[in-house]
């Protein structure tokens, strides 16, 4: 049971206690507290368990699977199999696993290829130019054939570390949302885009991209919200071609065929020459048959 024991200890104090680096007076005060506070002692125990050096066979198996998963996501070759019995071997194996390096390579690719992007928006734009993750169209997205895999499977691109680069470049909510959206990481993309949408003066592009996230999420309950966001985007800017394109897709998916046909025609009035227009004509023809 906990008794009166004063202010609880910060995580940093707990780990410094384990390290033995606390000032003697603080160490003594921490011990007084830890004896009386079950919660802090349990947190101390938590860090003792997290930081322990031995690795169980179960943990080793999970770590191996995790490393494989990481490689898959980063498009890197799997690390060689080996024993995970000691911390040293873990570090070594995962180090090799450190296809991780690709992460940095990706930053390097983005930073050195063509013109080095100077803003988070340019990073997203560069990534969007490489592949098309889904049918619907993000704001400012150049036309590409649809790729049926996760964006993060793209060889040579490590999104995990590019996320760090995005932050370093002070990406705003919309840009972070777009960054995760193009990876189909809807869990991360949606909160960012919803924040951006609530900001005063949210643009047609923000509404469109939030609509794309709802549309592609795979959660049927979000589909109606996707249609609303595309409409909002068009209310902001009637000539916003991406939203016009997406609204037509929305009608198709909801089996509103007549509306879809009419929306494709509206889109083609806005854009009759691009590759998006070619795709739209194909879809319209498909609906007419």
């Amino acid at each position: 049971m906990s008794r009166h024991h004063g202010q609880c200890l910060a995580d940093e104090t707990l780990t410094e206690y384990l390290e033995g680096s606390l000032d003697p007076a603080i160490k003594a005060a921490s011990e007084v507290h830890l004896i009386g506070c079950d919660e802090c002692r349990n947190r101390l125990a938590f860090f003792m368990r997290v930081l322990r050096e031995d690795v169980s066979s179960e943990e080793a198996a999970v770590l191996e699977a995790v490393a494989a998963q990481w490689h898959q996501k980063t498009g890197e070759k799997a690390a060689p199999k080996g024993g995970w019995r000691s911390p040293r071997s873990i570090v070594a194996i995962v180090a090799v696993a450190a296809g991780l390096v690709i992460g940095l390579t990706s930053i390097w690719i983005v930073r050195e290829r063509l013109v080095e992007p100077k803003t988070a928006g340019e990073v997203v734009q560069l990534l969007l130019g490489q592949s098309r993750p889904f049918e619907s169209r993000m704001s400012g997205q150049p036309h590409r054939p649809i790729v049926r895999t996760r964006g993060s499977d793209d060889a040579g691109v490590s999104y995990p570390l590019l996320a760090g680069e995005m932050t370093r470049l002070s990406a705003n909510s919309h840009e972070m949302g777009r960054f995760y959206l193009l990876q189909k990481d809807f869990r991360r993309a949606l909160p960012y885009l919803e924040i951006a949408e609530r900001e005063v003066g949210a643009s047609a592009a923000v509404h469109n991209d939030l609509g794309v996230a709802y549309f592609e999420d795979g959660d049927g309950s979000l589909l109606a919200k996707a249609g609303e966001e595309f409409q909002h985007a068009l209310q902001h800017d009637q000539a916003f071609a991406a939203a016009a394109f997406n609204l037509a897709l929305f009608y198709e998916r909801t089996n509103a065929i007549a509306q879809a046909q009419s929306q494709w025609k509206r889109f083609l009035e806005l854009d009759s020459k691009s590759e998006w227009a070619t795709e739209a004509r194909g879809r319209l023809q498909g609906l007419n048959h």
Partner: protein, 205 residues
């Protein structure tokens, strides 16, 4: 380069390719492990294979965001301090994840006491607690006044540390060797065992 220096250098040079490759080679495995263990200890989900890479990504973001503020705040000087630093960041990221998925009912980073006691004590048969039934002593410890244990300890200088070790052993389920591995306790395995034996005897009296 030492581990603490490497962390500090990365904080200063957020886009230095070679430096960050070095960082990954040395610490990526540890981050995987700390995230995985935190997920397990907090009972968030059993199959963590999918989520650990994503949360590891969040650890990297946490390290570099705001122009590397977290990295630059690191003041440690030892290998252990780096591991502890990464463990804290990993735990914090997992805690945020737990909040996000809505399973954080208590909002605090606490290991359920049943996990600490039943989970650990029942599974293990430690060799260094022979005279007293562990469950019996654990229940005694739930109402015993630890201040009296402290006051009664002949090792006045380290009485509180010793009482804490006693609790870590009997309530939280750590064996003497596990406790002795942490430099903060400044004891060998046999030193921890001696303390446990002495305090156990006092409580029995």
């Amino acid at each position: 380069m030492s581990a603490p220096d490497l962390v500090r250098e990365c904080g200063e040079k957020l886009t230095d390719r070679d430096l960050w490759r070095h960082f990954q080679e040395r610490f990526q495995g540890l981050i995987f492990m700390y995230v995985m263990r935190t997920l397990h200890l907090r009972h968030i989900q059993d199959d963590v294979t999918d989520v650990v890479p994503d949360l590891t990504q969040d650890v990297y973001v946490r390290l570099v965001q705001h122009d590397g503020r977290v990295l630059r705040s690191f003041k440690g000087t030892t290998e252990f301090s780096v591991r502890a630093f990464l463990a804290r960041i990993s735990a914090s990221v997992v805690q945020d994840y737990q909040r996000h998925i809505g399973s954080d009912k208590r909002g605090a980073q606490v290991i359920p006491i049943d996990y600490a006691t039943a989970g650990e004590l029942n599974r293990r048969k430690p060799v260094d607690r022979p005279e007293v039934d562990s469950d019996q002593l654990s229940s005694i410890l739930s109402w015993i006044d630890m201040e009296r244990v402290v006051e009664g300890d002949s090792d006045r200088k380290n009485a509180r540390r010793n009482a804490l070790i006693f609790q870590l052993h009997y309530i939280n389920g750590f064996e003497a060797a596990e406790i002795a591995r942490f430099p903060g306790f400044d004891l060998s395995k046999s030193g921890v065992q001696a303390i446990l034996a002495r305090l156990r005897k006092r409580i029995q009296e």
